[in-house]
Point group: C2
Chain length 383, copies 2
Amino acid sequence: MEATPELDPPARLLMGPGPSDVSPRVLRALAAPTVGHLDPYYLGVMNDTRRLLQHVFRTDNELTMPMSATGMAGMETCIVNLVEPGDEVLVGVNGVFGTRMCDVAERAGATVHRIETEWGKVFTPDEVKAGLDAHPKVKLVGLVHAETSTGAHQPLEGIGALARERDALLLVDCVTSLGGAPVEIDAWQIDAAYSGTQKCLSCPPGLSPVTFGERALARMDARTRKVQSWYLDLSMIRSYWGAERAYHHTAPVNMTYALREALRMVHEEGLEARFERHRRHHRALRAGLEALGLTYIPDHSLPMLNAVAIPDGVDDKAVRGALLREHGIEIGGGLGPFAGRAWRIGLMGASCSRHHVTALLGALGGLLGGAGDALSAADAAYA
Amino acid sequence: MEATPELDPPARLLMGPGPSDVSPRVLRALAAPTVGHLDPYYLGVMNDTRRLLQHVFRTDNELTMPMSATGMAGMETCIVNLVEPGDEVLVGVNGVFGTRMCDVAERAGATVHRIETEWGKVFTPDEVKAGLDAHPKVKLVGLVHAETSTGAHQPLEGIGALARERDALLLVDCVTSLGGAPVEIDAWQIDAAYSGTQKCLSCPPGLSPVTFGERALARMDARTRKVQSWYLDLSMIRSYWGAERAYHHTAPVNMTYALREALRMVHEEGLEARFERHRRHHRALRAGLEALGLTYIPDHSLPMLNAVAIPDGVDDKAVRGALLREHGIEIGGGLGPFAGRAWRIGLMGASCSRHHVTALLGALGGLLGGAGDALSAADAAYA
């Protein structure tokens, strides 16, 4: 077999839908010496990580931790632990991730009712209420806080109370929002949520933070059959994160180091300051993109994910390819019906800075024409 | 919230059942700058990793790759993709991991037949044949090549042919053996196998290499219903690893860097040299442990995992605690019926060296008495 060359990744500005740029601090933590998954030092790292996750999730939930797999496994964890075959669930579908939630729930044996709206739109509390009225046996409501496929920012206030009235749980996908916009697990009465590490937390991909409240725990405790996934079965994983420290699987030690460090940086910056940073650079990017003649797809845009329509006559792949090759900038293309029709420009965590905004507007403006106007508009927004 | 101290893991010699020590080269690769999971550079990293995994698995299987979760997810991946509800499977149970394979298969709806033998023993081909004779409808046979709970080394030659005669697939757990002892996927007619990164590959925990042959692919293609796990559904993951490069989940980019580097080191050393290194240090460790009066539990011991009985009157936790605290050496305790009765001493990958053997024998000999004799016995074995 021929030799494999030394690893030498190119320099990138990661401005797609994730992963985002990772701070050197986080990379250094990632590369700290591995210790055992039952080492007293590592148990302390787990406790720190839980406490820091509780802080960013704004929750007191004891069952708060990273699952040992990426964000989609977090979605599956929530569903397979909270749903039993035959349970009815209600899912808001307005993009890829709501669609996936339906698929995962169906694989878990659920009867899935969809409320749907156009990709890029969000649901009103009345629409959720109508869904619950139409399906009174629903035991779980799933909504996507940050629809990574469309950039839509779903308001959640009031939804938790609606679910509680019907004795349904509220499950929320906050993969893209956590650490970049408010996610108020306790105040919004969210019973379960999952996220990813590689978006606004700016940690490499590989783990999925999850959190479960008392009502979710009660639902798990009342199960009549085993969770279909052994790997994601929280009845066992809770014993590893709890006082028993019972071995379940070999934890991803170094990834947990990295997540802990990324969360320390979130805490040092402060949640409010971090959210304001995301809003500020979003406003400037938006001003610049609109100066280039690009229009935002969602009515309620996420600050950290900017989904814009590709103008007629512009070649999606040629532009993204030139950004990557000539400028080292990654932006995302569209998924599903948006393939070839949308760009998704991320401003997440360490990728949310003025130099990211300036570099992207300069490069994209150069390719589309209008760089000067775009940069002036951004500068005005910063002023 | 109080501040979280800087990450500062203690120095350890990792001589338990995994994770093993990780080379600085692998840690450096782990900390290389993150790129996107669809970046052309990362697609090349994926291709390199597949090719290097094919080399260590000794297979031409195209569907060879790391799953984005730890070894137990590799087990679950194999089972949920190869088994449909109602399928009969035959599992060899002689330790924790065979027991778990039954649990995972039952959760996938399989009817599980067990062949059992005492913990520490292995199965003969005749015992497997008798199991197949007793259950002629079996569609999958699961065996553990390296039973991490007992240190038993299951011979596999001839088993694949037995399975083929009955049109059953052979699934093998080689979590602990891969990279430290021969695993001959093609020559032994193994249809599917899974491993982990944190054993003899000496990469941090977090990924699970898997491989599937043509008969396994045909079984997947003939499925009548969706795989119950979305996250582990190979029908979609194949499209990401194949020419389509279809987005499924955000790959754990940095962990893949690390695995690629760990596999490069395996390739540079050479498989045969690496296996001989594991045998050599095992012989020396064994001589030393036996000089201390410790007896091996399995008849056929793995070289990389040495399971010995704890002598009467010796306090398991006190000894392991002293090794960790005073010497920075981690060894493993027993699982299940072996809890408090066995130690599991790993010599895996970067943890398989003369200084590991000497340090462990010196420290353990100091605690139990007899260090000088143990070290002399090991030195004699090296001579």
